[in-house]
Subunit: 337 residues, 2 copies
Amino acid sequence: MHSTIRDVARRLHLSITTVSRALDNYDDVAESTRKLVVATAREMAYVPNRAARQLRRRRTDTIGYILPADSAGFADPFFSEFIAGLSDEASVCHFDLLVSAVPPDSKAEKELYKRWVQAGKVDGIIVNRSRLSDWRLRFLAEQGVAHVSMERSLSRLSFAGVEVDSFSGMIELIEHLAERGFKRIAYMGGLPILKIDHDRFCGYQAGLESAGIVCDPKWVVHSDMTSEGGYHAAETLLALAVPPTAIVCINDVTAIGAMHAAREHGLMVGRDIGITGFDGIADAAHASPPLTTLDQPIYSIARQLANMLLNMVSGKAVEKTKIKIRPKLLIRASTGG
Amino acid sequence: MHSTIRDVARRLHLSITTVSRALDNYDDVAESTRKLVVATAREMAYVPNRAARQLRRRRTDTIGYILPADSAGFADPFFSEFIAGLSDEASVCHFDLLVSAVPPDSKAEKELYKRWVQAGKVDGIIVNRSRLSDWRLRFLAEQGVAHVSMERSLSRLSFAGVEVDSFSGMIELIEHLAERGFKRIAYMGGLPILKIDHDRFCGYQAGLESAGIVCDPKWVVHSDMTSEGGYHAAETLLALAVPPTAIVCINDVTAIGAMHAAREHGLMVGRDIGITGFDGIADAAHASPPLTTLDQPIYSIARQLANMLLNMVSGKAVEKTKIKIRPKLLIRASTGG
DNA sequence: TTGTAGGCGTTATCAA
DNA sequence: TTGATAACGCCTACAA
């Protein structure tokens, strides 16, 4: 925090005003002074103080993202990629990204959102892992804070964001499994309050139905969406009297855990049992066997979300406020290739 | 951004000053007024404006972390876990975490660090993936900005941070491989300018030496530390006239890619070839076969780093400024169990 | 084309 | 124990 705008002004025997406007490319500044100011500012390594600018402009040039982090052990490449996308897009517009992690639907989460909003710390917020009934979206709408979300919640609020068509994807996936001859198909979800869990489960059911397969409630289990959780949930499934011959997992890391459990049970994944994921993280392609999955372009989705949000907070017209993406079925060896 | 401190003051017919100090628990405020102020503030949902507070206090209550993101496709669970740790620790102290992603050692990186520092956007910065000669650490020291780093660089600057003893870890690992009968041991590193690459490579060499194995330069390759990169680098190794019978990888995701390549070459990992990682990410335990690795407690390291930094910026005495951690060798099936 | 002055919401100094 | 008042660094009507 070195030179201030006063320093630059003093050095040039100009007023603060002129310096300020020269740097902001106002057109009522003589070209010669403008050049001089810009050169001097650069030479003096002048950078406008963030806090002062924020206070005055009443905006922060910062967008926020709160990680729905369940636990200490949480580590899904999904989030690395998502954050990288948000941050990259923000950088382009000279915005910053504020990040925090907090257990979903907890008291701490509520407090954090409140603090960020009421202290004016961010101009807008990106929400993901939307819940069926999501107080976050309601809260942000009420407070008039710009926000976009990945997956819409069921409430009728106007929605801006990106939605991946999990439902159709799952139907396609189940069809694929049925074609490969897998009939006893289990579903391994996450928290049932999650929109993605709901959508994927519905797609799973619809898929079964159209394949003429009945859905055994015993074959529906839930995990915490970590590989550890997937491992344990799979153990439960495989210990059943009549275990499933395929497991459809809510995401890739869960599936990686499930494959591990299957191997430990002496099953050859892809032949004795089919296992699928959702996300298309890099590691899924290198898993053993490579994982059949519904690929969603996480990085690109994150960039699009950030872009929409940035347009909103900059008052620019947002061309598209709802983007729907169809996940792509990547067939790999974990379902027989 | 609703009620300000003035609103609260007006409502109570008190001065702004008194309200401010009541809320900050100064002891020269009557207990009765303090209670009244606190209650009213809460009722009015008053939250101090961040920008104003920052401007006045000359601190931001924010720490920063710049992800060394190589590319769009980058997605290492290491970073999710690292960020979660930083963020959790920051939350405890009511600090925020500012995150950005930028290619390492690029012009953009330099500009970003400058901007953050000179605009006074953060009180301190966490650095990881230190380079052997790291301008970031020099720059931060010069500018007098508080910072901690994971892995110290070779320069003699005073260092505060956490260091994982990669060198000793690798020696132990090589010893393990040699015991298991693997003799033709390859090393798959990352960028050679990275401190961790240097340390791990040196440990590898030392390990080979003490096991009486000569190091064939052909068996030393580098990747970009992604699973994709690991996959390709392994293909190069396996295409050699005399391919190695073990591959020591710089991190887990690389190793996961390498295992994939090995399987494609018809090799049974753990029997025909030994493969090892470094990190101890959750997925490593669920890889096929489960990956032998040097486990470092990423989440806990991140918390410790953040904690040290927070103490530094709060002016608290830092008990321990250098923490050395010995990674733990987890022997799994990828080296024969 | 440039300068003056007021204020964004807080906190800190000093006097009452 | 409380209250004026002056910054913090910047932006922007408005005046010159």
